[in-house]
Amino acid sequence: MPEPILDIRGLDAHYGDFQALYGLNLTLAPGEVLAIIGSNGAGKTTLLRSISGLMSNGAAQIRYRGTPIGALRADQVASLGIALVPEGRQLFPSLSVEENLLIGGRVKRAGPWSLSKVYELFPILQDRRHQASTSLSGGQQQMVAIGRALMANPDLILFDEISLGLAPIIIRDIYAALPGIVGGGMSAVIVEQDISKALSVSSRVYCLQEGRVSLEGDSATVSRDDISRAYFGIA
C-alpha cells in the first residue's frame, strides 16, 4: 500500500465533557473512496469535523500526506486541499448560486475544476446561477454544495450525508455524478446512512459505533451480517 493521504491514529474528540471519538484509527490511500457508516451519534460527523479542522484535536492524531494537521484551523486545512460537503448543504443564503461556487474557489488551488466544469457536471446550476441559493430545490442545493467543494480543487473531499432529506430519484442522480468527481484521482470519504449506496461507490468501508471503529473491510466482500453486527453492536 502506498503512503496514505490521510492517516488517523488514536483520534479522540470531545464536546465539552462528552467524548465522541475514542482512539479512532483510519487510513486512506491516494485515490481511494472510503465509506463510513454507522448509526446516529456513532461519531461520523464528528470525524469529518475533526479532519476538516472545525474541531481541534491533538496535532499528530490526524496526518495528511505525513503532515500533522489535527490542531490546524479549518481555513488552514482547506488551503492544504481538503474540502468538506457539510451535512444539510449549508449554502450561504445571502450569496447567489454562482457566488457560492466562487467562494469555494477562493483557496485558488490549481486543478481541473472551474466554474465551467461544475456547470458541465450540473447543467441546471448554470440556468440558476444568478438566483439566491435558498430558492433552489434540495437536490439543486446539494449540487451547489458539492460544486462549491470541488471549486477548491481538493485532493481529498469529504461528503457528509449527501442524500439526507432528498428524494430517491435525486439521490440517484447525485450518486451518478460521483464517479465523474472521484474518477480524476481525488480521494474521498463518504459518510452515508444508506448502506447500499455507500458500499456501491466505495472500495473500503468503516463502520463506527459509539465513537469506535466496529468494522473495517472491502466494500465488495463485506457481508451484511457483519455490517448488522457492527452497526447495532450485536455480539
Binding site: R73, A74, D75, S94, L95
Partner: protein, 287 residues
C-alpha cells in the same frame, strides 16, 4: 420657505449621521458586534485630523489622505488584538469590552488634548454657500452629503460586486462554513473593522470641520449613529443613509419649532419609528 429650508438643511445633516452610522452598520452586519466605542473613535479621528492638518499645515480634508489609512490600521489591530477575542455566542463580552475601550479613548484624548473644545480650520469651505432659488445652502453640508452618498454607494458596490464583499457576506452568514472555504474569519473581521474605521475617519473629519469637538462628545455621536442604523433597518446600507436623513430632518425641524427641541425631536422620531416598525423602515429581506 423657512420650513423647506429646515428640511433641506436636515437632510444634508443626515449625510453626516450616515457617515457616523455606516461603520456601525458594517461591523454589526459582518460580525454581530455592537461597538460602544464607535462614537469615541469618530472623535479620535477628528483629533487625528486636527493634529495632522496643523502639523503639516494642510487643509483638514487633505489630512484624510493620512487619517483614513491610520484609522484603518488602528481598526485592524484593534480587531485582531482585542475584539476578536470577545466574539462568541454571547453578545455581552464585546459590549463590555467596547464600553471599556470608550472610557479609555476618552481619557487618553483628555490627557493628550485637554477638555477644551477644538475645531478644525476648513478655511473658505466653512462659509461658502450656493443659492438655490431663495435658499442658501452651505457648501460644506452639501459636500458632506455627497461624500456620504458616495461612501454608501461604494460600500454597497464592494459588498455585492467584489470578492472581499462576498467574503464578508459569507462570514456573516455562517462562520464555520466560511472557514471551510479557506476564509480566516479573524482576518476578515479585521478587514471589516479597518473598513469601518476608514469610513469613521471621514465622518470624524467632517464633524470636526463643521463644529467644535471635545473628548466627551463621542457618546452623542454614537447615539445618532445607532438611531440612523435602527431607523433604516439593520444590514441595509441605503436604509442607513435614509435613517440619517430622517434623523437630521427631525432635528432641524424640531429646532425650527423650538431651539431646545432639536435633539429631543430626533429621539422622539426614533422612538416612534421603533414602536411602529421595530425592524426599521428598510430591513434586509433575507434574514
Amino acid at each position: 420657505m423657512d420650513w423647506v429650508n429646515a428640511v433641506i438643511q436636515g437632510a444634508l445633516l443626515g449625510g453626516l449621521y450616515a457617515l457616523f452610522a455606516a461603520g456601525l452598520s458594517l461591523i454589526f452586519g459582518v460580525m454581530r458586534l455592537v461597538n460602544i466605542a464607535h462614537g469615541d473613535l469618530i472623535v479620535m479621528a477628528a483629533y487625528l485630523g486636527l493634529t495632522t492638518s496643523v502639523a503639516l499645515g494642510v487643509h483638514p480634508l487633505l489630512a484624510l489622505v493620512l487619517v483614513i489609512p491610520m484609522m484603518a490600521a488602528i481598526g485592524y489591530v484593534l480587531q485582531r488584538g482585542i475584539l476578536n477575542h470577545t466574539l462568541g455566542d454571547d453578545l455581552l463580552p464585546p459590549l463590555l469590552v467596547t464600553f471599556g475601550l470608550s472610557v479609555i479613548i476618552q481619557n487618553v484624548l483628555l490627557e493628550g488634548y485637554s477638555a477644551d473644545p477644538q475645531k478644525m480650520n476648513g478655511g473658505a469651505l466653512e462659509t461658502a454657500s450656493v443659492s438655490v432659488g431663495s435658499l442658501s445652502l452651505g457648501l460644506l453640508p452639501i459636500l458632506t452629503f455627497v461624500v456620504a452618498v458616495g461612501v454608501i454607494a461604494g460600500l454597497q458596490w464592494m459588498f455585492y460586486h467584489t470578492a472581499l464583499g462576498r467574503s464578508f457576506r459569507a462570514v456573516s452568514d455562517n462562520q464555520d462554513i466560511a472557514q471551510l472555504m479557506g476564509l480566516n474569519k479573524r482576518h476578515i473581521f479585521g478587514l471589516a473593522m479597518a473598513l469601518a474605521l476608514a469610513v469613521t475617519a471621514i465622518g470624524g473629519i467632517f464633524l470636526g470641520i463643521r463644529t467644535s469637538f471635545d473628548p466627551s462628545i463621542g457618546g452623542g455621536r454614537l447615539i445618532f449613529g445607532f438611531e440612523a442604523v435602527i431607523i433604516g433597518g439593520l444590514g441595509n446600507l441605503w436604509g442607513t443613509l435614509a435613517g440619517g436623513v430622517i434623523l437630521g430632518v427631525a432635528q432641524t425641524v424640531g429646532a425650527k419649532i423650538d431651539p431646545g427641541w432639536q435633539i429631543l425631536a430626533g429621539h422622539i422620531v426614533f422612538l416612534l419609528i421603533l414602536a411602529v416598525r421595530p425592524n426599521g423602515l428598510f430591513p434586509r429581506v433575507s434574514a
